[in-house]
Symmetry: C2
Subunit: 153 residues, 2 copies
């Protein structure tokens, strides 16, 4: 029996023997590998920033000053994770922090001039990263894939 038959079997929820559970056909495993490949492509093109750091800068460019928590929501990071990311961007002078004047719980984050320069400079590279990540697909496949992937995210 071929791997594709196994996939079909699983999809159709037919009986599947426990002894032919194949890790390499599970969506979670392949999703993890696809993500790894993307991160590797990213690192090759943008060496001095990680994808989460880039995401924070790109989103700040998009929405302007926001609270750390709100930024985390926008880029799908929990509070603990976003704190680390912002701390490191701050240490490098790419963002600046301030307290919200009315709601004193909130920590406002904004791009510095240097941070704005950096993100503007990096966006063309990010477009190339997207292209390279999707390079194994035709344009038509890309459109299909992005539509389906979005449903899973």
């Amino acid at each position: 029996m071929s791997g594709e038959d196994n996939l079909l079997k699983l999809v159709e929820a037919e009986e599947a023997d426990d002894h032919d559970y194949l890790l390499q056909e599970q969506v979670g495993f392949i999703l993890r590998k696809a993500h790894q490949r993307h991160v590797s492509i990213f690192a090759a093109r943008i060496a001095d920033l990680t994808p989460p750091q880039f995401a924070a800068l790109a989103k700040l460019r998009d929405v302007g000053e926001t609270s750390q928590n709100q930024l985390g929501t926008l880029i799908a990071m929990d509070a603990a994770t976003v704190k680390g990311v912002i701390d490191r961007l701050k240490a490098r002078g790419l963002v600046e922090l301030s307290r919200h004047e009315v709601d004193k719980r909130r920590l406002l984050v904004n791009l510095t001039a240097e941070g704005r320069d950096a993100i503007e400079r990096l966006i063309p590279l990010a477009r190339e990263i997207t292209q390279e990540t999707l390079a194994p697909l035709t344009n038509k496949e890309i459109a299909t894939f992005m539509k389906l992937l979005a449903k899973l995210a």
Copy 2:
């Protein structure tokens, strides 16, 4: 202009103004979110094991005793990462380690009886995790998606 128009624009490599770079349309960002969602589904169904730990056990079940390095290759983990995963499985008595008799560099990893019981018990849950992860798609969409995702991984 709609988001889909932006996507189309990007796919077709037409000119794209730098001021409308949208993070939430980039494949890397959505891939990261889809992966996060899968991990969350996994944790809800299998609380006492992480996806990488499960992958190690499932692959050992598949191939039998192997070197730590080889196992890492099979489950797409570098040497440093796989060491941590195996150490934790060993601490819980799910795998056992031994030295290769001929090649003394190699550290052989194998399931214990307890490890084998665990993975056999978990495989049905893993099938459910796959199903739930893919639940937003129809069967036809699943087949398409898995085919395209595999090309990117």
